[in-house]
């Protein structure tokens, strides 16, 4: 009876100190199906996959392959069982070629010399069979993210893996690349591969998955057929309540200029070119402006330049009428709040308790430090408790919980609480919903809109298309360090946005008339390509 399942995880329980990450979870992957694993952040998806991949051992429950119980003690065991994984952050050697990366670890040699020809032939055959176009001799550092992902997929196929795990694979792709990936996944299914697809994007589940298993807070909620379940039902299963999928907001009412950026140029740390080139725009009181773009097009460096983490090569920044081009981070932080892109690297001191992280931007103020330089611990505790309550930040031990021990979503909530609560006129929110679940995302979006309605300026930097389309009042698209387009989210489409993001289209910095012509040409070529 168990035979139809390629892999089964039965009644898996995995505990960590103070938390049950997986509580009696059952996941059954049929042969030749795309099975989505859906859950909030901290729902236990990663833990479950780590158990499957041999990174953790479950305390209870069994894993069965083809109906037979197996032990997976480390990733090598998983590999031997034909389980492969495309990690969210690719595990590729940057200075190696595609082919070298694919054979890494399973090289065939003769007298100690690499035998590449056989491998090349196999890779070629595989890429043709599944429609995975790659140049085997291109170096990883030179190819697009989409191609890097295809390399990762080929890596699994080269090892004859039958069970393929995709961990949030679409986060780094353009809309066009996402479509391609969906096609590839369908091809793989057609060839009899079984796919586990970890995601929190309901659209993608609807597009490719056959069945979906939902987890919530470590508990198994259910497994349902995708075809017979609406997106609203799935999100309700995931979050445990109704989620408003559309962001409610009134039209913006922009007033005075809060932030003015003129000709900003920022150097890159990776290469000798500038990462941000001659960027100019304004953000007004009472509006949300979003900088959209594919990851790695200068957004990170732009934020560093804006917040004072890196010096500008050229340009001028004016905040509330004051030139802050040369101001220190602390001076800027008096009027600017910053939700950083990387919460572990910048946003938190992970080894500090939550309460210390809550005052990270304010600890030096008289409210929290006495004149003699002693921390006012009682005040810090009380402040942290208030923010935790107001922003629903959950943790094992309240203010004294070490930040490292908190879930990603709650870490992010803590940062947002801290940044929103402090005095500011401008909120710079860099991927504020990164890695958050639908319910938490809704909360963050509401927060951003509330900020706007309270008369602050919000600059949102986002990679998520849904967020880009729904939250801001204006969209600026960044491509290779330049602002290539300004769009009105109410009038544009995801497809058009995608063309700007991919650099195929631009509508600023060009004379208006020629822009019209160029635009139509670009669209023509795009259409031809599609055909």
């Amino acid at each position: 009876m168990d035979a139809p399942y390629a892999i089964e995880m039965v009644n898996i329980t995995k505990r960590f100190p103070g938390i049950i990450a997986n509580d009696n979870i059952t996941l059954q992957l049929k042969r030749g199906e795309i099975h989505a694993l859906l859950g909030e952040n901290g729902a236990g998806k990663s833990t479950l996959m780590s158990v499957l991949f041999g990174l953790y051992q479950a305390e209870e429950g069994v894993i069965k392959k083809d109906g037979k119980e197996v032990m997976i003690n480390n990733p090598n065991d998983a590999n031997d069982l034909g389980i492969g994984m495309v990690h969210q952050h690719f595990k590729l050697v940057q200075c190696f070629t595609v082919l070298e990366n694919i054979i890494l670890g399973v090289e065939s040699t003769k007298n100690g010399i690499l035998q590449m020809d056989e491998a090349r032939a196999k890779v070629k055959a595989l890429s043709e069979k599944y429609g995975l176009q790659v140049d085997p001799d291109a170096k990883i550092e030179d190819i697009t993210v989409g191609m890097q992902q295809r390399t990762e997929i080929l890596k699994m196929l080269f090892r004859d893996n039958e069970i393929l795990i995709f961990d949030e694979p679409t986060a780094v792709l353009t809309p066009q690349e996402i479509d391609e990936l969906m096609e590839i996944m369908k091809n793989l299914r057609a060839e009899g591969k079984s796919i586990l697809f970890i995601t929190h994007k309901l659209n993608e589940i609807k597009a490719v998955a056959d069945r979906v298993t939902v987890l919530r807070r470590g508990k198994y909620i259910g497994t349902v057929d995708v075809a017979g379940t609406s997106k609203e039902e799935m999100s309700r299963m995931m979050v445990g309540r109704d989620v408003n999928m559309v962001v409610d907001k009134t039209p913006a009412n922009p007033k005075d200029v809060i932030l003015k950026v003129e000709n900003m140029t920022v150097a890159s740390k990776m290469h000798s070119n500038n990462a941000v080139k001659n960027v100019s725009f304004e953000v007004h009181e009472g509006e949300i402006v979003c900088i959209a773009g594919i990851d790695g097009n200068g957004q990170t460096e732009f934020v560093y330049g804006l917040t004072g983490m890196e010096p500008l090569v050229d340009g001028k920044i004016t905040l509330c009428g004051e030139d802050i081009t040369k101001s220190s981070i602390r001076q800027r932080s008096k009027l600017m709040s910053h939700i950083p892109e990387d919460r572990h690297k910048h946003g938190l001191v992970l080894d500090y308790p939550l309460e210390y992280n809550m005052v990270l931007q304010r600890y030096y103020q008289p409210e929290f430090t006495s004149k003699a330089g002693f921390l006012k611990r009682a005040e810090i505790r009380a402040y942290s408790e208030r923010l935790e309550k107001e922003f629903d930040v959950r943790s094992g031990q309240g203010p004294i919980t070490i930040a490292r021990a908190m879930s990603g979503g709650n870490q992010q909530k803590a940062i947002i609480a801290r940044e929103v609560d402090k005095d500011h006129k401008l909120l710079v929110a860099v991927q504020p919903t990164r890695g958050l679940d639908v319910g938490a995302i809704e909360g963050v979006h509401k927060q951003l809109i509330a900020e706007r309605d309270e008369g602050r300026a919000v600059l949102l930097i986002s990679l998520e298309l849904e967020e880009v389309m729904n939250v801001p009042d204006r969209i600026l698209v960044m491509y290779e360090g330049e602002i290539v387009g300004e769009l009105d989210p109410k009038k544009t489409t995801v497809e058009e946005l995608g063309l700007y993001m991919a650099g195929a289209k631009r509508n600023v910095n060009i004379d208006a008339n020629t822009a019209e012509i160029e635009e139509s040409e670009v669209i023509d070529t795009a259409r031809k390509e599609e055909a």
Partner: protein
Amino acid sequence: MKEKKSLLKNPSFQAILTSLICIVLGLFIGFIVLLLINPAGAGEAIMTILLNFFTRASAAAQMKALGNTLAKTAPLLMCALSICFCYKVGLFNIGAPGQYEAGACIGLYAALAWHCNWVICLLLAAVAGAVVGAVSGALKAYRNVNEVISGIMLNWIMLYLTNMVLSGKKVKDPASPYTIKLASGNKGALIPSAGLNKLFANNTTVTIAIPLAILFAVLIWMILSKTKFGYELRATGFNKEAAKYAGMKEKQNIIITLAIGGALAGIGAAFLFLTGYQEWSTTQTSVPGMGFNGIAATFLGGLHPIGTIFASFFIQSITDGGALINKSVYPSQISDLISSIIIYLCGFVLFFKFAINNWISKKDKGGPNVNDVPVKDDAAKAEGGEK
């Protein structure tokens, strides 16, 4: 969290326990080495190391020996505090011996050549140590030179610089390689004992340096855990990038940290050489062990300023005890060998801590532990999805 927590999980208890395990293990391995060399005297020798001053015949002699151990504990504690302080800020101050040498150099030179009184000498020693520490700090902050590398190199540079400076006419005893005794050169530079010597059978090397060192330990603990300054320094140590993001001057903090570490080590040198316990040998060709033993004391003390007080005393005590081993039975190097084995094992504190935690988590597997994740939403609604 009202339920009874296992004592083993208490971090302070764990720190003390792991330190004790290290000590016992160190003594045990030391004992085995003694057995291998000469089984007959091993038991007596290990007891001598452990008991140190208690082996003396009379109560007065015991107190005098204890006084000697305490006198040397003060400088060791200062070096340990130097390393502990920097470690809390994420820096490994292996340059403490060099900062200690700088303190000895300027402290003694000020005492003998400039005839300064002890307070001035002490302050100058602190400044000298701070300057050497700041050099490592600046290299780290602005050029990302690892403080371990620059620290080790500065240890040697400062050793020979100190030898050179203290070989000067005004400071060196012409008849020996040592600097002039403070008792004859400049009595005012001796740290006062304020009557403490009376408690230790008139041991004149027992001075207010000992309570001062303990005071420094408390002060360092207060700074690190209670002040804004400590908050910034520790944040910088834990996560330099987050410190920068929060507008702290992370580069400056690194330099200040190593400068403070240097000052502590410099004061440590003053606490030894300004008590008249010992003179500087201008022909020495090895970096003084005081700074290195400070590393062991830091780890044995559970990386806590208060813990280092006890750890420093213990390490100094076994070092002194080692010197008392019967030299007719064992070669003369044995004392250093045994104490270094014990000190070496003190470095394993973190390893044992890790092992204990591993063991606890293994043991905890079966126990229920559900109270942390509040599932407060309405489960009823969700049941619609369960098929």
